[in-house]
């Protein structure tokens, strides 16, 4: 149903991508700086439009709206660019739009070296992120993910902080391994289903009538679980994450930790759970133990021990992925829905934390929290924003994260009482390290070096250029926190009646 009228989802991919191409072809710098706003705003506006009109939009099978498809010459392989959104992909599409806008705004004012290349890479990444969540075709879903992933490596390698070369290399090897395993799993679904198509709707229709055998499901789900797991920093395959985020420039870290990393979880919820329910059941106990003990408790304790602010945020993001894995392991609609909400909430809050960490670094010239202290009187707005981000990250009510963690704990309780208790200790841990960071950075006695710094060049509070992207994220967190139904209705509709629900109830 390709037609000539403007397809908003395609626009969200094409606008940043074509701007990036224009930059590569030599667009002059003053134009770049102006057009970059549009390059990041168009996807965000498209996402808001999709959010607004999703409820009334006409739905096709599996609750997809805004469908459109384009041939790329691979119809013989069953591959084609097919865009659309359902209740699961819509929240993530919105997340990608909003975080992308914030990261873009932050990058434009960051004054990085080789600004044009930096923005071009961010725009490619943004195009990949929008395309990833809008793709109904599994092959393009993967392709868009890689399109967003490669710029991350380059950005870490060129604009990264300390150990950037090593960090970029580690990230590349880990994430390539993860991507390759998940690609193999996706190919396995394609080859075994007999649908001769990478179109997720066709795959699900075919597999609904003739599901895969239990052994096949187990194997394929295992491939996907570990492939996606590496990409989402499932313990013990997480070590790339703090290293990479610690070195990454802030906008790249925001987009990767906030949005790109959700690829794996999204793949599990959108593709693996509905198609491979028996496989999910088989792996659920192992996954739950890994996530609860490894990601939540062990990494939680490691996070508490961090002195470096950015590393701490990186580790905390690994830890929170544990909750998401627990929601997937729980295998119920409630759990899976919680995962989707948590992805949105966590994406917004971790992006905000990375943004604010860099703003803090700009003022105190260090990431070492022992060298900070007493910043709040000098930068009250920054302090307030950081406090908000920390509260959101801990999962206090009123923020989007809360509506993710709460259903996950409920779902987990009916799955395993013991693991719920283990996982709940995590909320205490995250409160400890979150609030301690706030105390160390903003309150208490200023360190000697910071006092010296204040004497020579007192740090200003954050201005509008940094405040605006932060406020975009805060607004989204609070809006979803106060009105979760704006997303959860669609999630419920998309998940209800899934095979996963049936398996969990039997």
């Amino acid at each position: 149903m390709s037609n000539l009228s403007l397809d908003p989802l395609l626009l969200a991919v094409a606008a940043p991508l074509s701007l990036a191409v224009a930059i590569v072809l030599g667009l002059p710098k003053r134009w770049v700086m102006k057009l970059a706003y549009a390059g990041f705003a168009v996807p965000a506006l498209t996402a808001l439009w999709a959010w607004w009109s999703f409820g009334d939009a006409a739905k096709e099978s599996h609750g997809y709206a805004f469908l459109s498809s384009y041939s790329t010459g691979l119809d013989g392989f069953g591959i084609g660019l097919k865009l659309g959104l359902n209740g699961i992909s819509l929240p993530l599409f919105v997340l990608a739009g909003i975080v992308g806008l914030a990261a873009g705004l932050y990058a434009i004012q960051s004054g990085a070296e080789r600004m044009k290349t930096y923005l071009a890479l961010l725009l490619v990444m943004q195009a990949g992120l929008m395309g990833m969540f809008a793709s109904v075709d599994v092959a393009f879903f993967y392709l868009f993910h890689e399109m967003a992933l490669i710029p991350t490596f380059i950005m870490v390698g060129i604009w990264g902080g300390r150990d950037r070369s090593y960090a970029a290399m580690t990230m590349t090897i880990y994430l390539t391994l993860g991507a390759m395993l998940s690609l193999l799993g996706l190919i396995a679904i394609y080859a075994k289903s007999g649908a001769s198509s990478f179109d997720l709707m066709a795959l699900r229709d075919t597999l609904a009538s003739s599901p895969l055998g239990e052994v096949t499901q187990k194997h394929i789900y295992g491939l996907l679980l570990f492939g996606f797991g590496i990409l989402v920093s499932l313990w013990p395959f997480h070590s790339w994450a703090p290293l990479g985020y610690g070195a990454a420039p802030s906008s790249a870290a925001m987009l990767h930790a906030g949005v790109l990393k959700k690829f794996g979880l999204y793949g599990l919820v959108q593709i693996a759970l509905p198609i491979l329910p028996l496989g999910a059941l088989h792996w659920s106990h192992g996954l739950a133990v890994l996530a609860a003990v490894g990601n939540v408790v062990v990494i939680g304790l490691v996070t508490m021990a961090q002195r470096d602010l950015k590393q701490m945020v990186g580790y905390s993001s690994v830890m929170h992925m544990g909750y998401a894995f627990l929601g997937i392991a729980a295998g119920s609609v409630l759990g899976a829905g919680g995962v989707v909400m948590l992805m949105v909430g966590h994406g917004l809050s971790v992006a905000l934390l990375f943004l604010l960490s860099t703003s803090i670094h700009r003022r105190v010239h260090t990431f070492d929290m022992d060298q900070m202290g007493g910043l709040a009187p000098r930068a009250p707005v920054l302090a307030a924003l950081f406090l908000v981000a920390t509260f959101a990250s801990i999962g206090l009510p009123g923020f989007a994260n809360f509506w993710g963690e709460l259903p996950i704990f409920f779902a987990l309780w009916s799955f395993s009482h013991a693991l719920t208790v283990v996982a709940l200790t995590g909320t205490v841990i995250s409160a400890v390290y979150g609030l301690r960071a706030v105390a160390k950075v903003f309150f208490g006695r200023p360190s000697a070096s910071f006092t010296r710094l204040c004497a020579t060049q007192p740090p200003p509070d954050i201005g509008w250029s940094e405040k605006l992207p932060a406020l975009v994220l805060v607004a989204a967190m609070v809006f979803i926190g106060l009105w979760p139904r704006s997303l959860s209705t669609g999630i419920d509709r998309a998940l209800a009646g899934e095979p996963a629900a049936v398996v969990a109830n039997r």
Binding site: G73, G76, A139, E146, I150, A188
Partner: protein
Amino acid sequence: MDFPSLRELAAGNPWPAIWPELSLGCLALLLLVLETVLPRAARKGIPAVSILGQLGILAVLLANFDTAYRETFNGLLMQSPSGQVMRVFFLVSSIFVSILARASLPGRGVPRVEFHHIVLVVAAAMMLLVQSRNFIMLFVALETVTVGLYILVSYTRSNPRTLEAGLKYLVMGALSSALLLFGIVLLYGVAGSPGLAGRTGEAMQFVGLSQFLGANPHNFVAAAGIVLVLSGLAFKIGAFPFQIWVPDVYQGAPTPVTALLAVASKAAGFVVLLVLVTEVFAAYEWLVGPVLTFMAAATILFGNLAALKQNNVKRLIGLSGVSHAGFILLAVASVGQGPRAVGAVYFYLIAYLIASFAVFGVMTILSGPDDTTQELSDYCGLAKESPFLGGVLACGLGSLAGIPPLAGFAAKLFVFVAAFRAGHFGLLAVAIAGVVISIYYYFGWIRAAYFNDEAPISPEIAQRARTGGGRVLRITLAALAAATVVLGLYQGPLGRLVSGH
């Protein structure tokens, strides 16, 4: 006067059917004639004549793209759509090689026109090679290719490393030809033995041999012959355990010749292998299957592991080429599962051609007076000095590494899908490991070009990066880099062609 038998013979020889090969040969001769008749000052234009002539042939070939199956020359040759694709492939390769040579040969004190002449002859012979359906024809075409390459490999003969490479290639090439010939002889002999069912005197014809093998699917002598033929081909494509010549020869040969070896010669070997496996040795799947499977796994692992520690980029690209041979073998091992795997082989070859020439182009521009010593450290800071060359290199290497959305990714995807359908799960695991290992050295190269700011680029290399190569080569490189991106996202008619639609 009437010679009915001659006329009959002539009727089976439709010379127009091989016009691309004939015109390449004529063009090659024309170059030599021009060198003798033109005044010295005008001889500089001869490489341009070669390139323009080839472009002309390419244009006519594409305009009359003939997708019919036609047996010609009494069964010596077979025209087919895949043969047409490969004709274009070899012509495009030889055009790129000519462009590289035009930029790199001047100043090395070697005759130039003869180089272009031999490249054209080799290209024509490769075209015949992939269309041949008779072992005599196959061997003659193969030897024409190989003898041409003997000369080209040791072309800059004042360099001791080049001489060494030439000698190694000569010895290894002769050995592989001997193996191949011995295998052919065994097959011919056993197919004619009177005691066996389906014996034939036409065993040099692929059709005749195929029928004989079908009637005797477990003959030991035939099996030995098949293994020898496969070994001979494994030399050509640089597959394990016949890959030892690759790093030395790739390093010593002039860069344009390395490109010719890496792309066209390897592709020719693969197409012959594909034809033999699908059309002739089909009854010996029990033997060919395991042999190919073993070779694919060992080739992928060897190529990638050996490339890890290379600092000379020509050795690195050679060993990474070995691993690519392994990936293509993976697809060849899966052809039992239908035409998609065959399409995957062709698509992989095309993606490999584009990406390789992009990288070889950058190497040609940066190479100094001694072509054989190009180290990874020479690339430090390249992207800062010349963002254009850095971008081309990143596109080429990224595509070779199989990073989406570049063409190499689509190629690997098709190969993996084919292997999955054929049920080669173990091989896929090896292939995935290979891809992850390969990321390390490809990324190391890109890292040297982009991220490394410790060792500054040397002034001579910086000078070459800014101005070297000439306009034609630079435009070609831009087109190649663009092609890796476009072909990764939109395969268009090529995708339909390889997916059999």
